[in-house]
Symmetry: C2
Subunit: 152 residues, 2 copies
Amino acid sequence: MAPPFPLPAPMRRALDLARLAEAAGEVPIGAVVTRDGTIIGEGENRNRRDRDPTAHAEIVAMRAAAAHLSDFRLTGCDLWVTLEPCPMCAGAISHARIARLYYAVGDPKGGAIEQGPRLFAQPQCLHRPDVYGGLAEAEASALLRDFFAARR
Amino acid sequence: MAPPFPLPAPMRRALDLARLAEAAGEVPIGAVVTRDGTIIGEGENRNRRDRDPTAHAEIVAMRAAAAHLSDFRLTGCDLWVTLEPCPMCAGAISHARIARLYYAVGDPKGGAIEQGPRLFAQPQCLHRPDVYGGLAEAEASALLRDFFAARR
């Protein structure tokens, strides 16, 4: 069920980025990093185009934001992403010291926040962002469903 | 205890890369990707120099190897690293389809293979490499111990 408030602008931008990924033949996932409400890094899935196994939307957006700030940490910044992060991206979120994580829809197959390894709940985890999931479930899951349906 | 065979050349190179990281003021961790025994990508921790929260040795080495092969997967390739990978790097190893993972010493604080989330043992995990740990425990742990002792 959609939350009872208009979708915040950074998540709308992340969904637009997911559509750009889809148009380029990539899995449709987009992500945005904000600081004090302003976008300072963004990206979409680029695995195939960049020939890079690490080029998930979150990694691309966080690397861009870190370059923008000229800092290897994104302390106080927020990450907005259209799908629940995988273990690789959740680990990077923790390393980057992201303050708040917002995602559009959970991922029962590959998510690492609410399911599977639940990385932020591991006693080893050095930094846990505040987490807000399910912000745009219908829109984000339709994007992914249509993409994979078209490829079957 | 050291294994009963000479340290393979890729792990010796990874230890040299860790020393390069140390000389540059970075946490001393090095990594190498091989294919059929030949090094096709290497790297050391570059978080501070590159201002990149994702620039762990493993990520740097796998991105270099993927660029070398012009492929977003490293199917059939091996990864050699001086420390047990964290959740971010373990996730990337799985995405990259690394065939065999060799590491010098376990990491009780941040490792994600033998401890903590044990990512490759999670039912969600789509690709698990064969894992060989503890190849150079004394040497790799001394490097890290000396680095952190000098900073206290």
